[in-house]
Point group: C2
Chain length 754, copies 2
């Protein structure tokens, strides 16, 4: 790859037309925000149901807001530290350094803001979806509110992502890559913390509530007598909404960043602008997708959503092709320099690459729908095994997860390889363009995903208030099952962006190393070298460790919930009879405290593991490490998401009256499966996507520093080893501290047990 365009004094030769294009992109991004606002007005205007429903919703809103406020305070400190640390890392000049640190804060702030907004909006929408289900034509109305809510989050996600990137490009042009690294890193880091913290919150509350409520006391889910129900509903909002929204924003931002860095380095202005144009097209088609989603009678909710997705995907593909042929030259000769010898038509290559990304999204949608939807064989099979008990439910769910992970990973691999085959000299950029193709679908995907937790919570509010009749409850149950599948789809798409972004970021990684070495040759991390191979093993191991830590954190925090709910049943008379209200707030407080405490260990692991490997074992091992983490992380993320989704929906199948229905042995077997799946699909699984991004960006950021300390004298070697050991010490200390809080659900602090 050539750096010819950047060599021109760090400035790209922007023409007036180029500024216009970026300006138009920025306007499209702002338009997305405006449309988000319009949709928001519509959602808020919907009916809010009975006073009792509003009461419950208010408790949920307050709990969620309190959690995010405390999380913001925790993360702010962390953000400031990283802001300062970034100054230590090498850059071309202070302009780059300052820009990188400032846009790190901007990325982090956007990430948090979108998470907060997603959560706030969901808590508003839950109530309105529940209320809509009670009205005439309830199914259509409820679906409309749920999907429009998602539309708001989708618009804000793509709007802020695109706007941020456009501003960086306008302000920094040639120096944009380094600044974009900061922007992407901020987005990914905060998203990871929100995914982990929210994931622990939601599942600790959920598992804790289920263990005492459903398993011990035999009362239904969301029964108001259960002290953990409000916490459970708060969890759906801070985990599935806040965490998810931040995560998808991060996916969008990092993929865009990777494409822009690669594009500008390889092709100068054209390479910088085209990856902005494609997502701008995605904004337009997302608007279309959100507005055309209308539920039809006699049609599953998933079918409705899928139709909108496919229509907007096709429009994206067509518009992107037109943009490629209008904007890009038809011959590489026009780029001059290193590319003069390349045959092939850049416009055709770009078009095919973008379409590969769009098709990839469609295939993942289809695959995930198949493996986690209630109407297909896999979930039906898991449901069937409930007749032979919980062990077979667990085994069949794990099989479904493994299998779907394999096929999804192979499809993602095929997309990368396909893009790679497209053009010899521009292979990496083609991969990045496939990533931007994927981005055109993100608006609709976010809308689909938000649908899930909103429906889930609406069901919770309905059940707790008792103000919803059976027909309305049926509607909400159906929407919830659809939500389980859409949630799994989003995770599949998010992890696909992780692979594509990581592949593209390998380009910036090599570039950073080559530049630091001062050479012009290619950076090589030979996989048949033991150092690189060990890196691959360590990278894969960190994914397992991260997943294990997340599951453990849920267990511990759920233990605290179990003891508190039990205590309330024991100490507060009248709860079981329904004459006294349990102390909901107490459980919310416990889960808030625990989940914020628990997110530290996996968070520190993500940041410090690449530092330990990079400084300790060198840049070759670090490249291997990233590859191992990407490969293993992709499979693990999809496995965890889809087996969890399959278990949840298998339970719904049984609750719908199959295999003995509610209260049967088969039902308890699927409840056990669902409980196992909870931390899989909502804590460990979804956090792997931002984990990979964070590790990738940390590696790109530290690579020049590693090189500086590697090529130097023995004093440098000592510094390098010390940095690595400090990083290892931080990770070990974090693990030891969390271990001392106990390792399993039964290890609850004495003050809570008592």
């Amino acid at each position: 790859m050539s750096r010819q365009f950047l060599a021109e004094g760090g400035k790209l030769p922007f023409s007036g037309g180029d500024y216009t294009i970026v300006g138009v992109v920025a306007v499209v991004a702002l338009a997305a925000l405006v449309i988000g606002y319009v949709l928001l007005k519509e959602v808020l205007a919907a009916g809010q149901g009975t006073a009792k429903m509003q009461d419950i919703a208010k408790a949920v809103q307050e709990g969620a807001a309190a959690y995010l406020k405390r999380q913001r305070n925790t993360l702010a400190i962390f953000g400031v530290i990283v802001f300062l640390l970034l100054f230590i890392l090498p850059a071309d000049d202070w302009n780059e350094k300052i820009g990188r640190s400032i846009f790190f804060l901007v990325g982090a702030g956007f990430s948090f803001a979108i998470g907060y907004l997603g959560m706030w909006l969901a808590t508003q929408a839950n109530l309105r979806v529940a209320a809509a289900s009670r009205e005439e034509g309830g199914r259509e109305k409820a679906m409309r509110v749920a999907f429009r809510t998602g539309g708001v989050v989708g618009m804000i996600t793509v709007g802020l992502g695109l706007f941020g990137a456009a501003v960086v490009v306008l302000a920094y042009t040639g120096q944009a890559p380094k600044v974009l690294e900061g922007f992407g890193f901020g987005a990914a880091l905060i998203a990871m913390f929100m995914r982990v913290g929210g994931g622990i919150f939601t599942k600790a509350a959920d598992v804790g509530a289920d263990l005492v409520g459903k398993v011990e006391q035999g009362i239904p889910e969301d029964d108001p007598r259960n002290a953990a129900t409000i916490a459970d509903n708060v969890g759906d909002n801070v985990g599935d909404c806040a965490g998810m929204a931040a995560d998808l924003f991060e996916s969008y931002a990092v993929m865009l960043v990777a494409a822009l860095i690669l594009g500008s380095t390889a092709f100068g202005v054209h390479g910088l602008l085209f990856p902005l144009i494609v997502p701008a097209i995605g904004v337009i088609t997302a608007v279309i997708g959100v507005y055309i989603t209308k539920a039809r009678a006699n049609e599953g909710g998933l079918v409705t959503i899928n139709r909108s997705f496919y229509i907007s995907a096709v429009i994206s593909a067509v518009l992107s092709a037109i943009a490629a042929f209008v904007y890009l030259p038809s011959s590489f000769a026009d780029f001059g320099g290193d590319f003069a010898g390349n045959t092939g038509n850049p416009a055709v290559i770009a078009t095919v690459a973008v379409i590969i990304g769009i098709v990839l999204a469609a295939v993942i949608l289809k695959l995930t729908g198949y493996y986690t939807g209630t109407e297909y064989k896999p979930v039906k099979d898991v449901g069937k095994t409930s007749e032979t008990g919980p062990a077979t439910v667990i085994l069949s769910g794990i099989s479904v997860g493994f299998e779907s992970a394999v096929y999804t990973a192979l499809v993602i691999g095929a997309a990368v390889f396909g893009a790679y085959l497209l053009g010899g000299g521009v292979a990496l950029f083609a991969v990045a363009l496939a990533g931007t193709g994927l981005l055109t679908t993100v608006g609709v995907i976010v809308a689909m995903d938000t649908f899930g937790p909103v429906s889930d919570n609406a069901q919770g509010i309905a059940e707790m208030s008792g103000d919803v009749d059976e027909k309305a409850a049926q509607i909400l149950t159906e929407l919830d099952a659809v939500g389980n599948t859409t949630k799994a789809i989003t995770k599949g798409i998010a992890i696909a962006t992780a692979v594509l972004a990581a592949t593209a970021l390998f380009g910036s990684y090599s570039d950073a190393i080559r530049k630091a070495v001062g050479g012009t040759g290619e950076f090589i991390a030979n996989i048949v070298s033991p150092a690189t191979l060990v890196g691959v093993v360590v990278g894969a191991a960190v994914v397992f460790l991260f997943a294990g830590l997340a599951v453990n954190a849920v267990s511990r925090a759920a233990g605290a919930v179990v003891y508190e709910v039990r205590r309330q049943f024991r100490d507060i008379p009248g709860i079981m009879e329904g004459t006294t209200r349990p102390e909901y707030g107490k459980v919310v407080d416990i889960v808030t405290r625990d989940s914020l405490r628990e997110l530290a260990t996996p968070g520190l692991l993500a940041v410090f593991a690449p530092i330990a490997v990079g400084f300790g074992l060198g840049t070759g091992a670090l490249a291997g490490y990233l590859a191992g983490a990407i490969a293993c992380g992709t499979l693990m993320a999809i496995f965890l998401a889809n087996s969890g989704g399959a278990w949840d929906n298998a339970k719904k199948l049984v609750e719908d009256g199959n295999h003995g229905g509610k209260g049967s042995d088969a039902h308890s077997a699927t409840v056990i499966g669902d409980t196992v799946g909870d931390p899989f699909k909502d804590t460990a699984g979804p956090a792997i996507n931002p984990l990979i991004k964070v590790m990738n960006l940390v590696s790109v950021l530290i690579a020049p520093a590693v090189v500086q300390l590697t090529v130097g004298d023995s004093q440098n070697t000592a510094v390098r080893i010390i940095i690595s050991l400090v990083a290892v010490a931080v990770i070990v200390a974090a693990i030891v501290v969390s271990k001392r809080r106990g390792t399993v659900i039964s290890d609850t602090p004495a003050e809570i047990k008592a």
Copy 2:
């Protein structure tokens, strides 16, 4: 690395002294076989208990023999096909080709013979251990018989492995590497089939027996009224004994082969002979280890076994160091050629490398003991979570598995990296020498492993016969729990050989490619290239797929057992009252048929996946593929083995009277955990080790052919793509066929259901 020594006309300059050394090694190998025979006599001479016990043992022996006979017939056809196919693959001349194919058969034959012997011997020993437990001083006697039985298998394993390698070296000297590839491939291929087939057999019978017996009918494990009990005991022998013995032989052979190939290529005669000397030392220390293992009162069985291990490990280290200083030169200058410039002392490097391997084995032993032993925190924690139900048991077991996998993988990675750091130019050979260090412990490890299933089966025979009093039963239960841990340890060590062998085999892989290209430069698979990265993802995916297929196969086969046992309870009056004997043979037949049918799909995947990747995506992607499979496979194998071991022992903890004891809710929760763990630890997990070896050797074998078709014209490209597509088609067809048999336990063929 240099090929200077091989360049001398394909012949190594063997001196008389060199022949003497190889001769001595061969004699040591034969001595191991003789000692094995002596130990065998001792085992067979032990008392055989009551007539009823002998009856049961006979039924088990017959079932196991029948299974292996049918398996032999199936595998023979497969072996002949591969024998012929090997001729298609490139080699230097017909001498190499013929040698490779013939020694492929020898390796396969040895692998099968050791498996058969291990199984036959275990069926003899089970009875004798059960009988010994009834005698005065029963604990010591039972342990002695169990461990001596293991000693026989251990001696034969190392004896045949070392003898086979020595013969190849004597007969082929300079051409030994290619022939050794055949030998190792034969051993690995058959071992994989025996692991998979035996693993499916043992767990289908076990899970099936438990689901109807323990879960549905509430009768104890090994109750003679359960028609699946004999099949369950047969399974312990064909899976844990036959499969395990073949697997460890394969681990030994392939590691040795990798070291010899690398050594001879890099250092000529010295490099070829030293990796033979070290395992020969291991034979001597293994004999010591087996003879000094004596149970002491007031000492856990694991402590006794560990002591023997540590003593023999220390002796191995000392003797290896002496051998290094006596045999190897003290300066690289003595090797001349490419190594003249290397500083450092070869004897010191070799000593440290061998010790790294020995220490690695000790650390894995310690780690696995900690994570799966009943006396340590992890298993106690899993036991504790039984109080909050099966879901928390599953989650905590998965956490234990993840965590232990991470630490074990990191330790293995550290060993590889440590050996790599030892010597710049000889890094890969140092890794291989660490592998031979690991091999010195294999004799004792095999003895430890065989201990497990023999104790398990002895307990089965005792329970079924009813001829064993409570004290004796207690002894057997303790031994069984120790066996669960030793089994997990073996799997850890086996997978460590996989990583070390694979790292070393990467050397032969690069070498094969370099030679095929005709160049002298280094082979490079740059991990930051999308093609290599996609290879890593695909390699990791194949591990997930393989594990999923294996678990699924168990589910299906167990379903058939469930229906048959239910049918017998229903159709044959008097079974439940104990007045009529169930038709044990029928269940054995069903499982035999099913497990042989089921092993095809994972087996074909192992052989054809690297062919598909190599010919389809090229040698760089294939290298990435191997790295992904190694990294992900290591973690997956240990995760599956250790979480399974932890669940099994957590159940034992509860059965020992903790958390409510037998029959409590906590007990059922741990039974569910154990049932989930069964296919983890005994089917999918252990088969991953031979899987990695098979894929590695297939890659080494096909590499030259891939290169020949890559550098050629477009016709060659077409051939390459066609081969890849055929391989993909074979895999897809195998998966589709097995899917059509159903995907879950409830999908049992109608003729059995009826």
